[in-house]
């Protein structure tokens, strides 16, 4: 086993804990931000004093996730009678697994170079031993197909949702999972095309190299601003977040695919959703915002422990800001209708990303590397695509708008 393995396992272990804590506190942040947007205060009563400190220490409601977790664990875990029992129990676990696997390849800390050291003798087992000089990637798994790995694991999330909706034997759950499936697989195509364009531009599918290459030139956000918007839209749709939360539209489908779930099983669906949000945001930061790159600070690609710490902090801040933007969008924009949603994916995003793929491959063929050309191409597509869509012939409308007067629904005549 190499040094890389030990560093990776340590990174995975720490990141897992941070992720679980972050998911719990994101739920609090979501409720707080919702409250701020709606001019309320939000949860502020559950403190961390645990009955020891006087009640006036309320810690701004920071104890809320803890209380929620304990409450959910002690709730009745009810399984309705008409469900498919094995699948019903397996579905939340199957949602949880890809959500927890997805972020394994995110290069949080870049490359870490160290001189090696001697362990002090008082440490049991390894004391007195020495560590050779090493050069490792501070990430969960330093694999060559890193970017494809995030995409592949992310698309596994649909299985848990389908199984949850199918096993519940409830019409709301079933329609919720149908909608979620159609939506997630539709938005996976433009997302995959965006990733393809990034791989084509930088000729690598390794996550940490992609960040280094962006840090050495310009962020992909400036190369492909339009693709960044499209990718963020796809991330929102893949996480089933508003304005694409058709699968759990309360007015139509009660709770969607998790209508029949209770207690910790229900909470696992939510953990999965929030973890997908974090993974999606980290993926966006990695692809478009230059990962750990801080503007105006020239970080070395391979650095010591201080640089690694700085890179982790910068990456985490970018991810947090994107997650906060997702929450902000949820409480600001109204939900799309299902036909609008599918039309946006199939008639809007896929042709635009295909056109961008053609343009980018031509640019790569002719060796154009200046970001201004890419940016101009993006802006041109952004303005011409709506014009072209006006020219495309549409078929006869199916849902015609019938005037009330004179129709068979008119209240005036019988």
């Amino acid at each position: 086993m190499s040094t890389q393995f030990y560093v990776s396992v340590l990174t995975v272990a720490i990141t897992l804990k941070v992720m679980l804590l972050a998911c719990a506190y994101l739920i609090l942040l979501e409720r707080k931000m919702c409250a701020w947007i709606q001019n309320r205060i939000g949860p502020n009563r559950t403190g961390l004093s645990l009955g020891i400190l006087p009640l006036r220490f309320h810690f701004w409601g920071l104890g809320q996730p803890l209380a929620d977790g304990v409450k959910l664990l002690f709730k009745e875990d009810y399984t309705p009678l008409n469900v498919d029992r094995p699948l019903f129990i397996a579905a939340p676990i199957i949602v949880m697994i890809p959500a927890m696997l997805g972020w394994a390849v995110v290069p949080w800390g870049g490359l870490w170079q160290s001189e090696g050291w001697m362990w002090p003798t008082w440490i049991p087992f390894i004391g007195g031993g020495s560590v050779e000089p090493f050069n490792v990637s501070v990430t969960g798994a330093a694999i060559n197909i890193g970017i494809l790995y995030i995409l592949a694991i992310g698309s596994l999330a649909v299985y848990g949702i389908v199984l949850g909706g199918y096993a519940s034997n409830n019409k709301y759950s079933f329609f919720g999972s149908l909608r979620a499936t159609a939506q997630m697989i539709s938005y996976e195509i433009p997302q995959g095309l965006c990733v393809l364009i990034m791989i084509l531009m930088w000729s690598t599918s390794r996550a940490d190299f992609l960040v280094i290459l962006q840090a050495n030139s310009t962020w992909n956000l400036f190369y492909h601003p339009l693709l960044a918007i499209i990718f963020f839209t796809c991330v929102l749709a893949e996480c089933n977040r508003a304005p694409f939360d058709l699968a759990e539209a309360e007015q139509e489908l009660v709770g969607g695919y998790h209508t029949e779930y209770a207690s910790m099983k229900w909470a696992l669906f939510f953990f999965g959703e929030y973890m997908h949000m974090i993974t999606g945001s980290a993926f966006f930061a990695l692809l478009f915002l230059g990962g750990w790159d801080l503007p105006l600070v020239h970080e070395p690609a391979v650095g010591g422990l201080a640089w690694v710490a700085l890179k982790i902090i910068v990456f985490a801040i970018k991810t947090f800001l994107l997650v906060a933007a997702m929450i902000w969008i949820r409480w600001t924009l109204p939900r799309l209708r299902f036909d609008q949603l599918m039309r946006l994916a199939w008639r809007g995003l896929i042709p635009v990303t295909l056109a961008m793929l053609l343009i980018t491959s031509a640019f790569v063929y002719f060796g154009i590397e200046n970001w201004i050309y890419y940016c101009v191409a993006n802006v041109i597509i952004f303005f011409t695509a709506p014009l072209i869509s006006q020219v495309i012939p549409t078929g006869a409308p199916v849902n015609r708008r019938v005037p009330l007067a004179g129709s068979r629904f008119s209240p005036a005549e019988t």
Binding site: Q4, V12, N170, D339
Partner: protein
Amino acid sequence: MANLSTIDSISHYGPIVVLLVMAILFGVGNVILTTVLGPRSQGPVKGMAYESGMNPFSSARRRFHVRFYVVAMTFLLFDVEIVFLYPWAVVFGSLADESALRPLFLGRVLFFLLTSVVAFTYAWRKGVFRYD
């Protein structure tokens, strides 16, 4: 950076296995814990599916709109197409400028994309992407 690209080995997938075990333990552990800790009660009305207070009239596993099957089929078409393009994308940019393979690579992929654009246009004209 060239020598770094060779450090990839199968042992780098080890942490993913560790993470997979942790994820399975977390999921299964939570489900078992909440089953053990929570109260339990049964009842015929409680066991019904929750459909906003209506009595459920039949199983939910019924026929659904054919549109969803068509979405799945078109998705398969495009997803497989994109999967074929990934290896091309990794190699294409790193080919040498004077390499004779570059026009060949570009031409073949353009033809491949053309066939899928034809398929896309056909599906569009057939009304696959109409959801009204």
